[in-house]
């Protein structure tokens, strides 16, 4: 048991560190360091442009999408090198937020199912951040129940005609391409009639409408498809095999471990360490200490769980469903932490105060955090995954499993 790098890892780390020190946009370092969930914005710059520039710089020097093959714009690195990179990249990694879906999910799906000429054409500009991708899965009728989606794809000669609506699509408003899951056969049970495509988001008939969130920001969108035409060669996988293709996408999501999941705890501990309450320093208040200690062990438990996963990864094991616990624990924790930070500050911070810098930070966290518990699978889905795939408990009873999709009721009452 040790935390030391092997000589090769140490060599890689020092190269990465040196390159980052010489090339990172350090003028934004402090601002990025202070940003927390819900508040990754730059005051005097367009974060999209800064992020794209940083990604391009990395790509040109061979530091983008480290684990991808070189011919697709990556570096061919080992999983552990990717983790070391993330550790060294530190706050600058927050700039990669807009590429997460493209790099973590769309890219690997393209690698597994696209034609070779498409891979060579589309993957390098995805790796370098010149093109941004989104993932068009969720629908009003199919969020956690992804396979319940209704967007139709109908064959017309060498093309498919798409009609329907997607929702909760992160970054669709600045994406160039997307991977799209559609229904191609409504007469068979729901998992058996799906097909996956990729498409140009500028195609005629694609309309993106940003959704204003509870926080006031708009990270997600509704996307409408009206007679959008996609050539058949942009199909990913076989017709009606889209469910299996989407599983590959979702499995890849789990590989994105190591970056460290946001819990809000470091921010809270830091804040409480300096805060004066009416009867003395917050950190010396028994109730505050007890709260902090409870969150401290959750945060450290997650950190070391992730380190155990990294160790397993470096031995060639694949991350399993047990890694669902990060999002499950952190999601509700960050909500509670933000609410508690505001509680400590009292009524004054409802409207902002001389403490606005700190209050604003936790207010943003509070309003963004509910999303964490929903996106990429709700807490309830995460618990099902742990119960079924880790503990081996029976699957939920699925009354629609063997029913043709077009015979499934669409309304509760």
């Amino acid at each position: 048991m040790n935390f030391d790098d092997t000589p090769q890892e140490a060599e890689f780390r020092s190269q990465a560190r040196a390159w980052i020190a010489a090339n990172a946009p350090t003028q934004y370092e402090e601002e990025l360091r202070k940003s927390s969930l819900g508040r990754t914005q730059l005051k005097n710059a367009d974060i999209l442009e800064v992020a794209k520039a940083w990604q391009k710089k990395k790509a040109d020097a061979g530091w983008a999408c480290l684990h991808w093959p070189k011919e697709y714009g990556g570096r061919g690195s080992s999983p552990i090198e990717r983790v070391i990179w993330q550790q060294e990249e530190g706050p600058f990694g927050k700039l990669s937020h807009m590429f997460i879906i493209g790099h973590g999910m769309c890219g690997p799906t393209m690698m597994a199912f696209a034609r070779e000429e498409h891979k060579r054409k589309y993957l390098p500009p995805l790796a370098s951040g010149e093109k941004v991708w989104c993932q068009l899965f969720s629908e009003p009728a199919g969020g956690s129940d992804v396979a319940g989606l209704r967007t139709r794809a109908e064959k017309d000669g060498d093309e498919w005609v798409i009609n329907g609506q997607k929702i909760w699509t992160s970054g669709a408003h600045y994406s160039d391409y997307g991977i799209l899951l559609t229904r191609t056969d409504p007469t068979v049970p729901k998992h058996k009639g799906l097909t996956m495509f990729f498409l140009d988001m500028k195609s005629p008939g694609v309309e993106v409408r940003p959704i204003k969130q509870a926080s006031g920001a708009s990270d997600f969108n509704e996307v409408y498809f009206t007679n959008v035409r996609i050539p058949d060669h942009q199909r990913l996988g076989e017709v009606n095999d889209g469910w299996n293709v989407s599983l590959t996408t979702l499995m890849n999501e789990r590989m994105s471990i190591g970056a460290g999941v946001a819990t809000g705890f470091p921010e809270l501990f830091d804040y409480c360490s300096g805060l004066m309450l009416e009867d003395g320093p917050a950190i010396e208040n028994a109730a505050v200490r007890s709260k902090l200690a409870n969150w401290a062990v959750k945060a450290s438990g997650l950190k070391y769980t992730s380190m155990r996963a990294i160790s397993a990864l470096s031995k060639g094991e694949r991350p399993g469903p047990e890694n669902s616990i990060g999002k499950l624990v952190a999601g509700s924790m960050i909500q509670d932490v933000a609410a508690y930070a505001l509680d400590l500050q009292g009524a004054g911070v409802i409207s902002g105060s001389e403490d606005a810098e700190v209050a604003g930070r936790f207010q943003a966290m509070l309003l963004r955090a509910p999303g964490t518990r929903v996106e990429g699978g709700t807490d309830e889905i995460m618990r099902n995954i742990i119960a079924e795939r880790v503990l081996g408990l029976p699957g939920d009873i699925r009354v629609d499993k063997d029913v043709p999709f077009n015979k499934i009721p669409t309304k509760g009452r």
Partner: protein, 375 residues
Amino acid sequence: MNFDFSDDQKQLRDQARKFLTEKCSPKAVRVVLDGKAPYDSELWKGLADMGFLGVAIPEEFGGAGAGHLELCVIAEEMGRANAPVPFSSTVYLAAEALLIAGSDAQKKKWLPAIASGEAIGTLALFEGKGNPSPKSIKVAASNGVLNGVKKPVADGAIADFAVVAARTGTSGRDSDISLFLVDLRGGGVEVKNLTNLDPTRGQAEITFKDCKAEPLGAPGEGWSILTQVLDRAAVLCAFEQVGGADRALEMGRDYALDRIAFGRQIGSFQAVKHMLADMYVSATLARSNSYYGAWALSTDAAELPEAAAAARISATQAFQHCAKNNIQVHGGMGFTWEFDCHMYYRRANAMALGLGSLTYWEDQLIDRMRKKNAA
């Protein structure tokens, strides 16, 4: 980075699990639970023969000289099996105090006897209600004799010797406290068994009346040694708690698969599934915190105080959470004497207090985190 136990250590764990599955069935635990024996002496002898009692004791003192990581994997199995033996009192508390502060002669006298199973040891720290604190210690030592009452003392009724924390000064500082070694089979010692939450590991009241005692460690160093002993024991107990939590989760899972209600396995109901998933989550967080504690313990790292407190809190919570919800999964059955659930529930709640309460360790953790941040 290799944040995992080695293959050899995992092999040792398998060996310990196999041994304990055979020699420490719930039926065997119940012999002690029902008061028919103060501890399982057969099992104790067997543990000595397997080399488990002295696994972290150096070879020159009769141990296996393996190390603390090895002791951690055995501790986890002791917790899984709910072993009714004075393992934590003897191996984590008494032996560790000797290893930290014992003179060569003291180590030579007691450590080989611990490793071979001939001597049971304990730590006499508490004096009634309250958490570890120099102020709470009233038992006084002067001219090599002790006077006063200690309770509860883990396994005090079966122990051959005790490490006793006693007052040797009146300055009001930590340096008022010194440690002593007492042969409990000698004179001046009165032992009374106490009823307790977890009868599979006894608790006693020990009265010292002009009892002869030899110093352990330098005078005035008692509190500083105790802090180190408690930190080490916190990590080792955390592994027992993780083992217990894991076993309670497993029992709940197995029952949820077996039991049919409303025409379905109860494990197919989301309410039950999600409860078990949450048990898994708490056990996993505790395991990861404990692994970090094990790393700090085995490398004698500066991070040990903070890591030990985190492991302690996390593992205490996980064992309590899993033991409690294991009963809930079992429904009415879980609440009966004949099902084994209550044995883990008792152990979880007794262990939650044995080294000081959760509140105490929460306080410790925040102090230690502050100290680190200030440095």
